[in-house]
């Protein structure tokens, strides 16, 4: 019983990372209609920045989140403005190819800069945690979940309340109508992608505290973000939160409680979930009706 509770809790905590990873991905997909295959690469840039700040200046990974987010925002804005804006009206497949190319460049530039050595961010409190009735709660993981939920709340609030958030939602709902009422599409697209990248950066910071990072460590996260968005549904931050937490729990339980499965099956499990959801309820658990 304790084992089950422990796994449930662990699943929720891991789910927090998935929430953080998927928020930006979902935003970009929902508004720009782009499945960003460079999302994992952006996440890992965030992780490396966090590691740099930590190892060179001893900045606490949670304190460096705003800096990392700002840096990633700039990168995201530029990538969208210079590259992706140029193919946004091309067939959907082309944005996949383009973002795949961007991802390839990111990974290999990181390889040039940092080599393929494993890096990790280990502040003094990493490894310690709380024990509640036999259930372990690692501080870092708990803080990660908290940051992810805060991020989700901030993005939701931003979209609902701010002027720019309103413009972003208008563009997501109807690109042509938004343009007619005077929204600068190029700028709003770039802002949206920038915010998506900033979210990826935050996720990268969280990931750097939880696992060792390499330039290619981001790749699984793109597929996982996709699964989370499919699971929860496109178009709402709350759906991403539910999807992320649920995915974390299902994946953890499947790996630990089902005999014969293990860590080596993570992708296969993710894909199985993906196919089941797509077959049964294509717009996700909480997605808006199409």
């Amino acid at each position: 019983m304790t084992l089950l509770v422990q796994q449930l809790v662990l699943g929720l905590l891991i789910g927090g990372v998935y929430v953080a990873v998927a928020i930006g991905f979902s935003l970009v997909w929902g508004v720009l209609n782009i499945v960003n295959l460079a999302h994992g690469g952006l996440v890992i840039i965030g992780a490396y920045l966090t590691w740099l700040l930590f190892s060179a200046f001893n900045v606490d990974p949670f304190l460096s989140i705003p800096i990392v987010a700002a840096a990633l925002f700039v990168i995201g804005y530029v990538v969208q403005r210079l590259l992706i804006n140029r193919v946004i009206r091309a067939p959907i497949f082309f944005t996949l190819l383009l973002t795949f190319g961007v991802n390839l460049v990111i990974i290999n530039v990181l390889l040039l800069l940092f080599k393929s050595d494993f890096r990790s961010v280990t502040p003094s409190y990493s490894g310690s945690g709380l024990s509640l009735g036999g259930v372990q709660l690692p501080y870092i993981r708990v803080a990660g979940l908290a940051v992810a939920l805060l991020l989700a709340g901030a993005v939701a609030l931003f979209l609902a309340r701010s002027r720019i958030g309103g413009a972003i939602q208008a563009v997501g709902a109807d690109r042509d109508a938004a343009q007619l009422v005077g929204v600068d599409l190029r700028h709003v697209y770039a802002l949206t992608f920038g915010i998506g990248a900033a979210c990826a950066g935050v996720a990268g910071g969280l990931i750097s505290t939880a696992q060792a990072i390499t330039p290619s460590a981001g790749e699984p996260y793109t597929l996982q973000a996709f699964v989370v968005v499919i699971l929860g549904g496109l178009g709402r931050v709350s759906a991403t939160v539910v999807g992320g937490l649920l995915f974390g729990v299902v994946e953890t339980l499947a790996q630990t409680m089902v005999p014969g499965l293990g860590a080596g099956w993570a992708n296969a499990i993710a894909f199985a979930i993906l196919v089941v959801v797509l077959a049964v309820r294509p717009r996700g658990l909480m997605g808006r009706p199409v």
Partner: protein, 353 residues
């Protein structure tokens, strides 16, 4: 009075530019045939034996074989991604399944079939798989289809890696064929000929017109009487069979197959890139793309840092291609457009905000 012949494929119209394209491709084809024909007389072993000069060494034969392999894969991808308009993003699954199937079939401790029988039968596995996953997957559209196929490829690779019978993480080792370079070159070129020939026939058949109609407007195609489900699954299965054939030849040629080789995400993206660079939806575009890009990759190939730069170059090439030449190089060779600043500007205007 328009001539009453079907005007070939929808994408390559026999105008003046088409004839120029045909001449260019014919020249390329003739060169390839010539190389293949003189190869036996000029590789080190045979040339030594006959006292002839060595014109083509083994590494060059290897490159030619690799090019032929990618011609198969890019051409097969074109059936689904180019003609039918479904952006398949996981065709490497078919390659891996074909390779593993062949490795199992020729394994002395498993089925122990003769090599050619193994190669001939192996594509049945990816075909069956394509029909099985195609039925649910091909109901999805746009991104959903693309990522679901990518997920399939990743997941199948992972399952294969976890199956003891398939050698687990170690992979399988089909028996080495001694002095097989030329044999495998011929086999792979034959596979390429089968692939290009298949697409040629498809483009001239009712099947091909149906696929293009699906790409242009699936609802309209259905009410005109196109059995869209059957056609899509058939195209998917044909692509799977061809890609699996390349995988089967690769497995015995390389005499080693594991998850990383069989389900390589590099191969996965390269075949798509080749088709798009050359010209998706055309007969010869993917062929041209495969030849040019593989030569480029070979020129850039290297170890360590060089390989990293090559990957960066590949990423940039992807970006430049989709931004500036989305219709592929065939568009220029075909004479329908001339490569100029104006062309690039026009392309940009069409697709950007």
């Amino acid at each position: 009075m328009p001539d009453s012949q079907p005007s070939g494929s929808f994408s390559t119209r026999p105008d003046a530019g088409g004839r120029r394209l045909r001449r260019v491709l014919l020249a390329v084809f003739a060169l390839a045939v010539l190389l293949v024909l003189i190869a036996p007389l000029s590789t080190s072993d045979q040339a030594d034996a006959l006292g002839l000069p060595v014109l083509v060494d083994k590494s060059q034969i290897r490159i030619l074989t690799t090019i032929a392999m990618f011609v198969v894969m890019a051409t097969a991808w074109n059936l689904v991604g180019g003609l039918t308009g479904y952006g398949a993003f996981g065709n490497v699954a078919f390659f891996g399944l074909g390779a593993y199937a062949c490795a199992v079939l020729v394994d002395p401790h498993k089925f122990h079939l003769p090599m050619l029988a193994g190669i001939a039968l192996a594509p049945l596995v990816p075909i069956a798989f394509a029909v099985f996953v195609g039925l649910p997957l091909l109901r999805l559209r746009s991104h959903y289809f693309s990522i679901a196929t990518l997920g399939t490829a990743v997941a199948v690779g992972e399952v294969v890696k976890n199956v003891e019978y398939l050698g687990g993480a170690n992979g399988l080792f089909p028996p080495i064929v001694r002095r097989g370079d030329l044999l495998f070159l011929y086999l792979m070129v034959a596979a390429a000929a089968i692939a290009v020939g298949s697409v040629y026939l498809v483009l001239r058949s009712r099947f091909g017109y149906g696929l293009i109609a699906i790409r242009e407007n699936e609802d309209a195609a259905a009410v005109l009487g196109v059995n869209t489900t059957l056609y899509k699954v058939a195209a998917f299965a044909l692509a799977a069979g061809l890609t699996g054939l390349a995988g089967a030849v690769f497995a015995v040629w390389n005499s080693f197959i594991n998850q990383e080789l069989g389900f390589s995400l590099d191969f996965n993206i390269q075949m798509i890139l080749m088709a798009v660079v050359g010209g998706a939806g055309t007969l010869f575009g993917p062929v041209l793309g495969a030849i040019l890009l593989e030569l480029l990759l070979q020129a850039l190939a290297g170890q360590g840092t060089v390989a990293v730069y090559a990957q960066i170059g590949l990423g940039l090439l992807l970006a430049v291609t989709v931004i500036f030449v989305p219709r592929g190089l065939v568009d220029f060779f075909g004479g329908s457009s001339r490569l100029s600043l104006g062309y690039l500007r026009r392309t940009l205007r069409e697709t950007s905000v």
